[in-house]
């Protein structure tokens, strides 16, 4: 009973703030609604018994990534792109096509009848703590993807430092 009503509340918050992200005119407000949507999503994860994922959702998305987003929106002077009529037409056309595809998909899902949630309950109820389980799986079965992601992030970090330092020769040595 409590779980169902909480789920309804979190889902409503997530949907409404998701809508506000695209409907609001102020970019900062949109970003804040996105944070709210992330928090509601974390709440839903908690209700599903995935407490580790829920907390990491808040730490990583709401606490780190969105702060950097806000940073960019607030402090860099964002200018509106000057668009020609053709660009507007292309954008509108793409929007209509994507919307139609999504609508069809939604209709198909509704007709297949698993819209109200998974029909078959999971055979084994998840144990009380899933942090250990995630760690176990991450370092055994999914070790290779894990290491690949680590390498990709390292490369991205090095790339950012190189770009940030600029391409002037000897620029790095002056700052000591």
């Amino acid at each position: 009973m409590i779980v169902e009503s909480l789920f309804a509340a979190f889902a409503a918050v997530a949907l409404c703030s998701g809508l506000m992200v695209i409907l609001h005119r102020n970019a900062v407000t949109s970003a804040l609604f996105l944070v709210l949507a992330f928090c509601a999503l974390a709440g839903i994860y908690l209700l599903m018994g995935a407490e580790f994922v829920g907390m990491v959702q808040i730490i990583v998305y709401a606490g780190a990534i969105m702060v950097l987003f806000l940073f960019v929106i607030m402090y860099l002077n964002l200018k509106h792109d000057v668009e020609t009529g053709v660009q507007v037409a292309v954008r509108r056309g793409l929007g209509w096509i994507l919307g139609a595809v999504l609508l069809t998909e939604g209709a198909l899902l509704l007709r297949r009848g698993w819209f109200p949630g998974p029909v078959a309950a999971p055979a084994v109820p998840p144990p009380a703590g899933n942090t250990e389980a995630i760690g176990e799986v991450l370092f055994t079965r999914y070790l290779f993807p894990f290491e690949v992601i680590a390498m990709v992030l390292l490369v991205a970090m090095v790339g950012v430092i190189v770009v940030g330092k600029g391409l002037r020769p000897g620029a790095g040595e002056e700052e000591r």
Binding site: L32, E51, G54, A62, G63, A64
Partner: protein, 345 residues
């Protein structure tokens, strides 16, 4: 009527609400007298007496302060973003309050709101949300000084958050659990080093993780924007930083949030490193031990604030990224190796 009360869901919700109310009002009282203590200690450090006019020893000063804050004129800048300007002070208080829900104040079940098995992560999540209030407050005021304060604070808090999170990993490795109750339980019993029991000392993690403890306290000072890391509100250069344009109770909320964060982060430090409620005597004394340790740590925070000068901005960044972060990483690796080969404990 009785049927409602026998419903376990209703019991759970009511019981939780009662605990939340008690903690809320305890913390409000604690914050007002922490501010009084700060002014008194600051006074004595600077060879003054501090507040001594309102009531005996000035003990009623916090009440007078709060009344003054309520009756001050509320001023909102014309060019401010109204909604965000109003939301920001609230965001300063909420994360700190949420943190208290996982802190075990004593060994009894009644002395904690809840014991979830990701308590430590909840604390880290809430401290990472603390950036929003200051950044948004600074931005929404539409004031150059406030904006600079907000900018500084977000850069500072993001940088020091990493070192803080990593410094708790050592404790996590020792305890093998993210639940704060479990972490405190692991620290009971006498301290044993290399098979030798050391008298009068308990099995607190600070003895196994001294480096992590020092780094946690340093980053805690930075996360709560206390001196020597109070660059977001450096009054000599930024007037008052992010809260320049705030007045009346909105300023009061920022103030409340800062001190509540200090209490929350000290309570976490006590839980993680200083053995939480563990101490000599019966379990009923647990909450007394907890608050004694908390008070000692809070005194240390105030002492630091009135002793050290403020860092320069480049020093702050240099210290965070080139000193604290590598040291915590080395600490984690060394702890992991020692744990793996079973030495040390």
């Amino acid at each position: 009527m009785m049927q409602i009360w026998s419903n376990p869901d209703v019991q759970f919700v009511v019981w939780a609400l009662v605990k939340i109310t008690v903690i809320l009002f305890t913390m409000l009282g604690l914050v007002s007298y922490l501010i009084y203590a700060e002014r008194k200690i600051a006074g004595h450090i600077q060879s003054r007496t501090g507040p001594n006019r309102v009531g005996p020893l000035g003990l009623l000063q916090p009440i007078a302060d709060v009344l003054k804050l309520f009756f001050k004129e509320e001023f909102i800048p014309d060019e401010a973003n109204k909604v965000i300007y109003h939301v920001a002070p609230t965001l300063a208080v909420v994360p700190a309050l949420v943190t208290f829900s996982v802190i075990p104040f004593g060994p009894q079940d009644a002395l904690r709101v809840t014991d979830i098995n990701v308590g430590l992560l909840l604390f880290l999540a809430m401290s990472s949300l603390g950036v929003y209030s200051i950044t948004l407050g600074g931005w929404a005021s539409n004031n150059k000084y406030a904006l600079l304060g907000g900018l500084r604070s977000s850069a500072q808090m993001i940088s020091y958050e990493l070192a803080m999170g990593l410094s708790t990993v050592g404790v996590l490795l020792l305890a093998g659990s993210l639940s704060l109750v479990r972490i405190v339980e692991m620290q009971s019993g006498p301290l044993t080093l290399f098979g030798v029991a050391i008298p009068f000392l308990q099995n607190w993690f600070v003895f196994f993780q001294p480096v992590a403890f020092v780094i946690f306290v340093i980053t805690a000072l930075a996360e709560t924007n206390r001196a020597p890391f109070d660059l977001p509100e450096a009054e000599a250069e930024l007037v008052a930083g992010f809260h320049t344009e705030y007045s009346s109770m909105k300023f009061g909320l920022f103030f409340l949030g800062e001190f509540m964060n200090v209490i929350a982060i000290c309570a976490i430090a006590v839980t993680l490193f200083l053995g939480g409620w563990n101490g000599p005597g019966p379990p009923a004394l647990g909450i007394v031990w907890f608050f004694l340790k908390l008070a000692a740590l809070l005194f240390f925070f105030i002492w630091v604030r009135w002793t050290f000068p403020r860092l320069r901005y480049d020093q702050l960044m240099h210290f965070g990224w080139k000193v604290l972060l590598p040291v915590t990483l080395i600490n984690v690796v060394v702890t992991a190796f020692v744990m793996h080969w079973g030495a040390g404990r």
